[in-house]
């Protein structure tokens, strides 16, 4: 039942927040904060009390499982289960949810209750995505979390730059993800129907469908249906059009959720469903996926260098970082998949930190345009130093979590696809450039305007320090994280054990 409560608590908390509006401005905030801390607390408690000892290779290791019938007509169950990866991501959701509530404490001043309703419902949907093992239920949560996100961007977003309103950005976000989601629904239905044709029984169960025999002619298309849905959300470059605008226009809490958690649902979907359901097809597709990943790395990094808008710059760096994750997932190496998981967590921390910082700067300067900043180092206490730390994390400085993740991805992938790694490492160079550009434009250079600005209050200080501590902790001692998720990354590596993309990208000599 713990799993059900993990999903229900944010939804119920959200409803309570909505109604709490009448009890004053702070009531919804405190309720939302308590809700997210509750989710975080439960997941940490499960983490501490559960045993993640390495299972036999290739076996699934579920810490908790819960299941009940729902729509017997199609064999749909509400089937929730939690393994190491889901646990980490649920805990991450709880943590970033708490941060999202905290960082909008002063930013959101109207319609507070309704704002927190949407915020908590997004998080509830995300937790649902991380816990569902029935494909129908997974799809349900996958689509459901879009609606509150849409409202978050459309109603509380920043008024746009020229020609870009927040409603347009929100609509674009919604249509991209919903349309690609429908492709996934078609693929899920086709998969279930093929299984129905084989056995005469409807089922959307993960374990059952994983064993389904799919005709060779259709399998690649079904795999693509899943891949496109995940690739839009990750995002992979030709399908990334929604991301920069959505990030730029979203309120800080929305950006934190988007970068920190929503992008991770895509990587999670690939790890949990995309690759395991279609192992052979995924292998065949790996060269294409890796090429797309490479393109994302370089494209995201190059475009990040040219941005004037602070949040837009960070948004493009997300594209670049997620390119690494994509390469790792399709590399078929256990080390690289573990690296991908570390990088997912690390990116959640570092990008959340940067987005919160840019939100704090926005609250002080009322602009995100870096041409209107300049020379803030002398005017603003403490925040510049913190920014430097997160920028260092984002560019993968050793001792930060991002370094561990990227290093493991590079190291793991090198055995199977050295060429890819060589090109990908150019992304690291570019990341140094855009990171330094960000620092230079915002904090150094000619002083744009005089006058001291207020430093962070205890709330802002606290958020930043906790994030920084986590970045360093995972960077210096990632072993607990690796132990917890070892079961899944081993499974992925086993699935790829047969063929490897060596033939395409050359061998190590």
């Amino acid at each position: 039942m713990i799993l059900v409560w993990l999903i229900l608590i944010p939804f119920l908390g959200g409803l309570l927040c909505w109604q709490a509006d009448r009890w004053g401005h702070h009531a919804p905030r405190w309720i939302a904060l308590a809700t997210m801390l509750f989710v975080l607390g439960i997941s940490l408690w499960v983490w501490v009390t559960s045993d993640f000892a390495l299972p036999g290779s290739g076996q699934d290791h579920w810490v908790l499982e819960w299941r009940t019938g729902w729509i017997p007509r199609f064999g749909i169950d509400v089937h929730l289960a939690m393994d190491g990866l889901s646990l980490i991501l649920v805990a991450l959701t709880g943590f970033l949810g708490t941060l999202a509530v905290l960082c909008s404490w002063h930013e959101i001043s109207d319609r507070i209750g309704f704002f927190h309703l949407n915020l908590l419902w997004i998080l509830g949907g995300v937790v649902g995505v991380f816990l569902s093992l029935d494909l129908f239920v997974f799809f349900l949560f996958w689509e459901m979390m879009l609606v509150p996100m849409y409202f978050l961007i459309a109603l509380w977003g920043h008024s746009g730059s020229a020609g870009q309103t927040r409603i347009r950005a929100a609509t674009r976000f919604f249509i991209y993800t919903q349309a690609s989601g429908l492709l996934m629904l078609v693929a899920i239905l086709a998969l279930a129907y093929i299984h129905f044709g084989n056995t005469g029984e409807w089922s959307f169960n993960y374990f059952v469908l994983r064993e389904a025999e799919i005709p060779d002619a259709i399998a690649p298309w079904l795999m693509l249906g899943f891949f496109v849905a995940f690739a839009v959300k990750l995002p992979v470059v030709p399908l990334h059009g929604w991301l920069p605008d959505a990030h730029t226009q979203a309120p800080t809490a929305g950006s934190v959720d988007l970068a920190g958690i929503l992008l991770k649902t895509a990587a999670y979907g690939m790890l949990r469903f995309g690759v395991p359901l279609f192992p052979a097809e995924s292998q065949a597709f790996a060269p294409v996926a890796m090429a797309l990943g490479l393109f994302s790395i370089v494209y995201g990094a190059v475009l990040a260098c040219g941005q004037q808008d602070m949040k837009r710059l960070i948004a493009y760096t997300s594209i670049s970082h997620m390119g690494f994750v994509l390469i790792a997932i399709y590399s078929g190496s256990e080390l690289a998949v573990q690296g991908a998981i570390v990088l997912m967590v690390a990116h959640a921390f570092s990008s959340a930190g940067l987005f919160i910082l840019s939100g704090q700067i926005y609250e002080r300067l009322h602009t995100r345009d870096m041409r209107l900043m300049g020379g803030l180092w002398g005017r603003l206490p403490i925040l510049p130093g913190l920014t430097l730390c997160f920028v260092a994390a984002s560019l993968g400085m050793p001792a930060t979590a991002n370094f561990v993740g990227e290093f493991m991805i590079m190291f793991g992938t090198f055995q199977t696809a050295p060429v890819v790694v060589i090109i990908a490492s150019s992304g690291l160079v570019l990341s140094a450039i855009y990171s330094l550009l960000l620092m230079q434009r915002v904090y150094f250079g000619p002083v744009y305007r005089q006058g001291a600005l207020p430093g962070p209050d205890w709330r802002e200080y606290f958020m930043m320090l906790v994030l920084l501590a986590l970045v360093l902790l995972v960077g210096l001692y990632p072993q607990p994280l690796l132990d917890t998720t070892a079961g899944l990354s081993g499974t992925i590596a086993d699935l790829f054990a047969g063929i490897s993309p060596v033939d395409v990208f050359g061998e190590v000599r």
Partner: protein, 477 residues
């Protein structure tokens, strides 16, 4: 001779028909708005209560076939008519002219719809269709002092008459080839000879019924009529009339082998694709809520045409489920429009700017509208998603990839305007609203009904099993 059990099997039709007669007498004796509405509701409720008896008796009178499909459709028709009556009462309070005749027309049209969905004979089909359409002209033009309403009524009358001509010609062609009007007989005859005349007959029937369903390219009347008609009449047109005509089209498609011929399937596939894409594209930039909903209903019947192409047992189930979800969603969406336009005051409040910031004035009414639009867009946890799920499942199981692609593309386009309306409800309002729902809308019968419908959308979206079981049971039998 009709046996008693055969009469029992069409008890709802008899009840609704007698209520109409009773109503006429009451109006002649004494005019009383509320009493009229109460009598109509009572008639419809009694009709609903008779439905279980209908499903227990196997017999059907001549010309009619009271099967599972007819029972599902009958229940939906009676429910929608009941909701329409309740909403009409609130709406017509402010109407200056005679109010009572609206209910009379509504009941006549309802009995026509009930007859139509059970028709097993081309003559019965024709009678039912005309009994459904004739009162609708009157309902659409009811507030005839408003120019638009009169225009809507006239337009619908003229185009309906044209469609009827097509339909009759189609029937004549089929009669000429088979020598029978009985659906069973037509089925038997068509197996033997499916030639160009039969195809032409079937195609003409599809054209005739396609007009009523506003299938692209026969949809041109839809936006004007939806916009012009008084809101309750539009509700009735969008729910009962479309549902009954679709059911009869499905019945024809299931019965007549000519619909399974490759040529007909291609034609219907093309029509379906045109309808889903056309409806959604035309709705994109509508600033008038009623026109927008009109185009959206065009698109929804495009999705549903997949069932006609498939024409198997799952198609009946899909039709049932989709119609249930479409119906409650449409009732909620138009219900909100009716509520904001109530009581009647000349033109309906259907311009989108009027709804700006509705959430901050009437939170629950806006919530009902949000739920219904989410359901129209097919977002999970609403009934609309279950319907869309069924249609896609049907398309996938029949390997109709073009149609599945059309549904996906149509839904993606549709999102744009559904979201546009939804976000309008939550934007800060620019100033004082010109039209608004009454303050106590939620405590009246109409408001309560509307909230119940919205809850039904959510409940069916979260727990659809009872609905699926009921429809599956009836569609198999």
């Amino acid at each position: 001779m009709l046996a008693a059990r055969e009469l029992f099997s069409i008890l709802p039709l008899i009840v609704v028909g007698s209520t109409a007669v009773l109503l006429m007498l009451v109006i002649a004796w004494q005019r009383h708005h509320t009493a009229t509405a109460l009598i109509s509701s009572a008639g419809l409720i009694v009709g609903l209560l008779c439905l279980p008896a209908e499903s227990m008796l196997a017999g059907s009178p001549p010309l009619m076939q009271v099967d599972g499909l007819a029972i599902i459709a009958g229940a939906l028709i009676l429910l929608s008519a009941l909701v329409t009556v309740i909403l009409s009462h609130q709406y017509l309070v402010g109407y200056i002219g005679p109010k009572e005749e609206f209910y009379l027309l509504l009941l006549c049209a309802t009995s026509g719809a009930l007859a139509l969905v059970a028709a097993d004979h081309l003559a019965m089909l024709f009678i039912g269709l005309e009994l459904l359409s004739m009162p609708l002209y009157g309902m659409l033009a009811y507030s005839f002092r408003a120019e638009r309403s009169l225009e809507a009524g006239m337009k619908y009358l003229l185009l309906s008459a044209t469609a009827t001509a097509f339909l009759l010609f189609g029937m004549a062609l089929i009669y000429a080839r088979t020598g029978t009007l009985d659906l069973g007989g037509v089925t038997g005859a068509m197996v033997r000879a499916s030639d160009a005349w039969m195809l032409a007959g079937a195609a003409l029937i599809v054209v005739g019924l396609g007009f009523k369903l506003s299938v692209v390219p026969f949809h041109l009347w839809t936006p004007d009529v939806y916009q012009g008609g008084p809101a309750p009449a539009t509700i009735f047109l969008a729910t009962v009339s479309k549902l009954a005509v679709f059911v009869v089209l499905l019945r024809l498609a299931l019965a007549a082998p000519v619909f399974q011929s490759e040529w007909m399937q291609t034609v219907i596939t093309v029509l379906a694709l045109l309808t889903m894409l056309g409806g959604n594209l035309l709705a994109l930039f509508q600033a008038n809520l009623k026109r927008l909903l009109g185009y959206s209903s065009v698109a929804h019947f495009g999705y549903l045409l997949v069932a006609i192409v498939a024409g198997n047992a799952l198609a009946i189930e899909t039709t049932g489920v989709y119609l249930v979800t479409y119906l409650i969603t449409t009732l909620a969406a138009f219900g909100v429009v009716t509520m904001v336009s109530s009581p009647f005051g000349g033109e309906d409040a259907d311009a989108l700017p009027l709804y700006r910031g509705l959430f901050w004035r009437r939170p629950y009414l806006a919530a009902v509208m949000t739920v219904s639009f989410l359901s129209l867009a097919g977002i999970p946890l609403t009934a609309g998603f279950i319907g869309k799920f069924y249609v896609i499942a049907l398309g996938v199981s029949e390997s109709r990839w073009w149609l599945v692609g059309g549904i996906v593309a149509g839904s993606a386009i549709g999102l744009y305007y559904y979201l546009r309306v939804m976000v309008t409800l939550y934007l800060p309002e620019p100033g004082m609203p010109r039209r608004d729902a009454a303050h106590d809308w939620g405590s009246r019968v109409g408001g309560l009904t509307l909230i119940a419908v919205a809850l039904a959308i959510l409940v069916l979206g979260v727990y659809p099993t009872p609905m699926i079981d009921w429809i599956q049971q009836l569609s198999v039998g």
